[in-house]
Symmetry: C2
Subunit: 394 residues, 2 copies
């Protein structure tokens, strides 16, 4: 009955070992991952159940992780996780969205206390969306003698270097991304409602490519136009595209929860000189960034290469970073939230790392995005999508 | 430049007044809403920016709320919020996903301290997805003399009774829901990949109805088949639908962030008797629930009416609730997380309340959902979608 897992059991076990090794270095006995991306990466678990409290527990004294969640979702864990049944624990239904009885109280009593972890160093992902302040207080209340510490992004950092299979999935996501952008170019024109174009984006994204069905992206399509493009996270409505406006399309294909985002900008009409200047700057900046994207260099090297070109063209990016690592993820974010491509970030690039290289231009009353998803290889860099890198004019 | 708000300024002001009145009753001086649905409902703010820390602050000593978020997203707030510019506060870009410098430290120092709230009773939504443990610790560290309390769901409760305009939007969402289910019936058959059907669901959902563009739903389409239907939150992949299996489709149209979910089940082939029995039970149970869904009755009355029919047919729902309130929302949940339709819940029904009535049957190796979104009216109940209520057979 178990579905085929996206990775071998051995690969999951290897991941768990890597995390344990970092835990030991940091003197953590037990850790709880509540980031659904981390849960997936560690165990294979995949479901839209992160609207209730759930997590994966890794303890140095146990070989396998423990999955915990709502009793109803244990059935999903049975189908999706590599571990044996005993390590899948469902809490009773009465703890679901019940303000008086909190799941983390049950978890503290029934998992942590019972396993003898009450006096341990216990780490949680304190700044994760799916680890609320209340979850922390309730868990802590059951463990008065534990030393509770913060391991935010511990697992995310270990995820940084991707396996061959992960890169395969990201290439498929990148192919879906290309297909979406082609559909956008075919569909967009002045007078067409934005919601229509988004309907076509989704249709293409989920249909997938070459027999590989698409998954839902962790960020919805973003396509602000004109002055709205200064507000880059506004979503669409039914108003039509207009002549003499630029729209950037920030979208990603997704395959087995892996992403490969890419943005392109379309100007409908004759673009003013500032757009042509920004296009020139961005293309040169991306080339400069790609030239230094190789193992041994730093994230800062990419950012500095990009920023210096942008500055040469007199474009101030107001301190915004030039990109971030990507991989397996769930809403609301497709980034890994570890390092950033910015001049103060000194992460050493390694073969297998993947980034969304995105030197967007967001000015007071207009914006432009031309971006790429990249994979650091042994010898340099690979683009996850291949699509003309320019300002499109319709 | 400001876009037309979905509600009048007066309606937003009225909502803020209602929340302040509850705050006063509960002796709260200042509260922070981080639930994106609450932020939207209180101010009009709408954007995919909840992947960074943001919120709306209501203080009894200020007329308007304060929106805070990433500096880049202040442009979105300028377009979307009803308040004056001075009440829209962006924190500097360097606080974005930077483990050393947390936005809530900046917010504590630059908003709470500066407004003289350091010694106040300050409430936060402690169990919200978008209020992490770390956000709480950082805010608290800037306010050592404040009394920090929990106001989880305070705003959600005030949202319970919908305005006329809100109901209008939910009816549009309900029409989109109908359209999606018609498309599902047209598209599904044995051999068709699930990802294809989901691509058609999304295309229909976002295209919308009657010139009203669809918005992204807060939960992705759920359509588990066969034994997977026991794991109700598993999402799709590219494997095809099979003969002699049931699939339930739990989906919602969405308009201006308002939802009207509805599930239907399709059996491909000749359904076994247990499916026909469950269909009969569910239809009778829903009728029994609808008959008592009127102002003055309790949420428990609906649950008891449904449960007693299900029990009569020998179907044990394992203590799962029969539904929950719905309205404006963001991923990962379209529910309001206040009351529930369950026998222990004694909320008095009022005209204007809206629920997803969902007495699903989830057994060990199969599942069935036939559900309705309902609006409690002065005289009884209105269905937000009109669609044949039965087990579909193809």
């Amino acid at each position: 009955m178990k579905a085929k897992l996206p990775f071998t059991k051995k690969e999951y076990q290897q991941r768990v070992k890597k995390v344990k090794s970092i835990m030991q270095q940091q003197r953590i006995d037990v850790m709880v991952a509540t980031d659904p991306g981390n849960m997936n990466w560690l165990t294979g678990y995949d479901g839209w159940s992160f609207y209730v409290h759930q997590g994966v527990i890794i303890s140095l004294d146990m070989e396998e992780p423990i999955w915990f969640g709502r009793a109803m979702d244990r059935n999903a864990a049975l189908l999706k996780c590599f571990m044996q049944r005993d390590n899948l624990v469902g809490y009773p239904e009465k703890y679901v969205q019940n303000i008086d009885e909190h799941p983390m109280t049950w978890i503290g009593e029934n998992i942590f206390q019972k396993n003898g972890w009450s006096g341990c160093v216990i780490a949680t992902e304190r700044d994760n969306y799916y680890y609320s302040a209340e979850a922390h207080f309730r868990l802590a209340a059951t463990l008065p003698n534990a030393n509770l510490v913060n391991a935010n992004n511990l697992v995310n950092w270990v995820r940084g270097v991707k396996s061959k299979k992960e890169i395969e999935y990201m290439r498929i996501a990148g192919s879906i991304t290309e297909k979406i952008h082609r559909r956008i170019l075919d569909t967009v024109s002045a007078g067409i409602p934005k919601s229509h174009v988004v309907s076509q984006i989704y249709e293409t994204a989920i249909a997938g490519v070459d027999g590989h069905g698409g998954d839902y992206p962790s960020i919805v399509p973003l396509l602000p136009s004109g002055a709205d493009a200064s507000a880059s996270h506004i979503t669409w409505d039914e108003r039509p595209f207009k002549r003499n406006e630029a729209t950037f399309f920030e979208i990603s294909g997704c395959y087995k929860r892996y992403h490969a985002p890419m943005s392109r900008t379309i100007f409908m009409g004759k673009p003013p000189q500032k757009f042509l200047d920004a296009e020139k700057a961005l293309i040169e900046a991306i080339d400069a960034g790609l030239a230094v994207a190789k193992p041994g260099n730093l994230t800062a090297d990419i950012a500095n290469a990009i920023d210096s070109v942008m500055l040469k063209y007199g474009i101030d990016r107001n301190g915004a970073r030039c990109g971030y690592p990507i991989g397996v993820s769930y809403p609301p974010d497709w980034g890994e939230r570890t390092c950033s491509l910015r001049s103060s970030d000194l992460t050493v690039l390694e073969s297998g790392m993947t980034f969304h290289l995105m030197p967007g231009v967001w000015q007071d009353d207009w914006g432009m995005e031309i971006t790429e998803s990249i994979h650091i290889t042994d010898s340099g860099v690979e683009l996850l999508s291949n699509f003309p890198r320019k300002l499109f004019i319709k």
